[in-house]
């Protein structure tokens, strides 16, 4: 019985392999392996804010992370005050003050750390800042 099934060569594998490859390509494309942000940050809830979609995040956007410890980073690289001013100034020179300048601060961060970052942005000519919050919890933690 088993032998006769093994010898059946008319079973076509091609469609299955096609589907499986499609699935693999989907997962490869959607997977983000590296973390380009400070993952220790726990954001506060902000249900009524503007939802951050892909259109709200143009390439001109600048995100500054402030951890609960007061560590200021961009793309998970610790930044000094001068470096922040420099980075914001470059954006202001390139895009004016219309680019989204976003601060991702932990909900337990003391205000003085956030105030420092806002003052650095202001020193670089950027008066409008946005705070990132969680609109809807999806991550299963």
């Amino acid at each position: 019985m088993a032998k006769s099934r093994n010898e059946d060569v008319s079973l076509d594998m091609t469609p299955m392999i096609d589907v499986v490859f499609q699935l693999i390509i989907f997962f490869v494309v959607t997977l983000k392996m590296s973390d380009d942000k400070d993952t220790t940050i726990k954001l506060a809830d902000g249900k009524n804010g503007i939802v951050l979609t892909q259109e709200e995040l143009p390439p001109s956007q600048l995100t500054i992370d402030v951890a609960a410890s007061g560590r200021v980073s961009m793309s998970n690289i610790t930044m000094s005050d001068a470096m922040i001013v420099d980075a914001v100034k470059k954006r202001v020179n390139a895009y004016g003050t219309d680019f989204p300048c976003m601060i991702r601060a932990d909900k337990n961060t003391q205000h003085k750390h956030v105030a420092k970052v806002m003052n650095l942005c202001a020193a670089a000519g950027m008066w409008k800042v946005s705070f990132v919050a969680i609109q809807e919890h999806k991550a299963n933690k």
């Binding site: 693999i24 997962f27 249900k47 804010g49 705070f131 990132v132 919050a133």
Partner: protein
């Protein structure tokens, strides 16, 4: 030519399918869903402009944030109470400026909560001061 290949029963598919399934399982397991984020816009006026400006204009709403909570109209209150107060004010006008004054040791979560309440009632004229 193509037909001949199809008819060849010796092409061993099993290892390839094994590998492909392994890859699939790996990617299904490692994929993680992200939270949906929102942003709350605010202004950061120059520190010296704040005092001169706040004197003349009486359509401003002042909210103070300290380490322990929120002070509004000189009274400490809970977030739901603040929510109710902002709702009342927004009913008359959403144009007025909201001045949010934070002490240096107040947690950032309070500020985000207050900004969120203001956004809820469409008050988008928000300024943040530190003291």
């Amino acid at each position: 030519m193509a037909r001949k290949q199809y008819d060849n029963p010796k092409a061993e598919m099993t290892p390839m399918i094994d590998v492909v399934f392994q890859l699939m399982i790996f990617f299904i397991v490692t994929i993680k869903q992200e939270d949906i984020f929102s942003k709350l816009n605010a202004n950061r006026p120059a520190p010296n402009a704040s005092s001169a400006q706040s004197e003349e204009n009486d359509t401003q709403i002042k909210i103070d944030i300290g380490k322990g909570g929120v002070v509004f109209n000189g009274r400490g209150m809970s977030f739901p109470a603040l929510d109710a107060n902002i709702k009342k004010l927004a009913a008359s006008s959403t144009k007025s400026t909201v001045l949010v004054r934070c002490t240096l040791d107040s947690p950032h979560g309070f500020l985000v909560h207050v900004l969120d309440i203001c956004n809820k009632y469409k008050m988008y004229n928000l300024s943040i001061f530190s003291m």
